[in-house]
Symmetry: C2
Subunit: 223 residues, 2 copies
DNA sequence: CAAGTGTAGATTGTCAACAATTTATGTTGA
DNA sequence: TCAACATAAATTGTTGACAATCTACACTTG
């Protein structure tokens, strides 16, 4: 493909990002077939890079591969989602612990900025941008922990949980932003009250669990 | 390649397993270059499947990719290993929690069997078999949890930590098996004393940390 | 002698093609 | 009408080839 201005080497990763975004936003719903030529044609690439991209997504847990039958979007059961959220809460807590000693103020500043963006996107009714900012909020915290290990694990955990989170957010989207937890988390980080941050973070994750499951299952059945 | 008797479709995964084993056993030490044709030639396959295999290992955290410069074995710093072990202890604990309600007796039986194998391999001075049985012990517990999510995450965490664990085990290998923790874990599982299992498991992981770091660093410098 | 330069070789990134297999289609027969 | 079967189309698995880039090494130059 070699898009001008883009570095040519990242094609499999570029493809992986694009396909990932499409899966998360349910353009390819769980269980649907991902054809290699179709995906390649979409971005002007051949099947080789597409296969590498799909292997990446497979390891992230977004996609499953059956021999001679190709790649399909992974479908989660209720128990899986429960485990996933439980794990995510644990790991986000672990991330908070790793924040000790980092620059809390600049992190809090960045988070407030993201929160402001979220409010704006919500007012403008831009679901995708609102969702993206939501993701960015959590990602910013992870990045601040500066732990290659935690980052690597969170890539996987996030990838697996994002389709459900997207569906939850878009079913509940009302134009009024829900930034309660986010702003409290940001404030607690600014105060360097890490036990509180931990508590808020895990709560923030777990309070969404049952509604996320509901949204996911409902979307599955209606598709 | 199409090895007779082997299913032809799993070639990238077969390659990934083989390369992974070679990385873990330090045949390709951290930082070393993984050339695609060389790897393919080793197993009679072309570069396509090799690249897919390397992408898989990349996501598992064993390998890093630089554009136009290829894949290299990932090198860990001391802080990374610390984080890795900490995380592994947490997650193994999470796995234990997920064991509730499963068949503890048959699991304990299987673990005792593996322990017996370990003793035998140690007596015979077979380091690799001893190590493999060691891995199998932990893997058996993970499998018993029957959680797709935890399994997926543990693949990654194990992959990242196994080179250090292998080096620790092979530097300390004396012919006398260290099955103290393993047998106690197995017994506690048989008694369904899960809090004790959790405690033993996390201890089992964390007590090895500093020695693992030492073994890893030392092997790095001598190479 | 050190530093920079240029060329040859090696290595990666991508593609197009072919064989093997699966999926879809249509036909026949009860 | 429906099921079983045969055939055609589509899709995957793998390979070999070519272009782009990097690396190593000899060579020049100050």
């Amino acid at each position: 493909m070699n898009k001008p201005g883009e570095l040519p080497h990242t094609i499999p990763y570029y493809l992986a990002e694009q396909i990932k975004a499409d899966i998360i936003r349910w353009r390819y719903p769980p269980g649907s077939n991902l054809r290699e030529v179709e995906l390649g044609g979409e971005f002007g690439s051949s099947r080789g890079p597409v296969r590498e991209a799909l292997r990446i997504l497979e390891l992230q847990g977004l996609v499953v591969h059956s021999p001679r039958r190709g790649f399909r979007v992974r479908k989660w059961g209720e128990e899986d989602l429960r485990q996933l959220y439980r794990l995510r809460a644990q790991l986000e807590g672990e991330v908070i612990d790793a924040l000790a000693g980092k620059d809390a103020t600049s992190l809090a500043d960045a988070l407030d900025q993201i929160n402001a963006d979220m409010v704006r996107h919500a007012r403008e009714g831009n679901v995708d941008a609102y969702f993206a900012a939501n993701i960015a909020f959590h990602q910013r915290i992870i990045d601040s922990a500066e732990s290659a290990v935690l980052s690597a694990i969170m890539v996987q955990v996030n990838a697996m949980s994002l389709p459900a989170r997207y569906m939850l957010l878009s079913t509940e989207f009302s134009g009024r932003p829900q930034y309660d937890y986010h702003s409290r988390i940001s404030a607690a980080i600014r105060d360097r009250n890490f036990p509180l941050v931990r508590k808020l973070t895990t709560e923030h994750v777990t309070t969404n669990l049952s509604r996320a499951i509901e949204a996911y299952e409902k979307a599955l059945n209606s598709a």
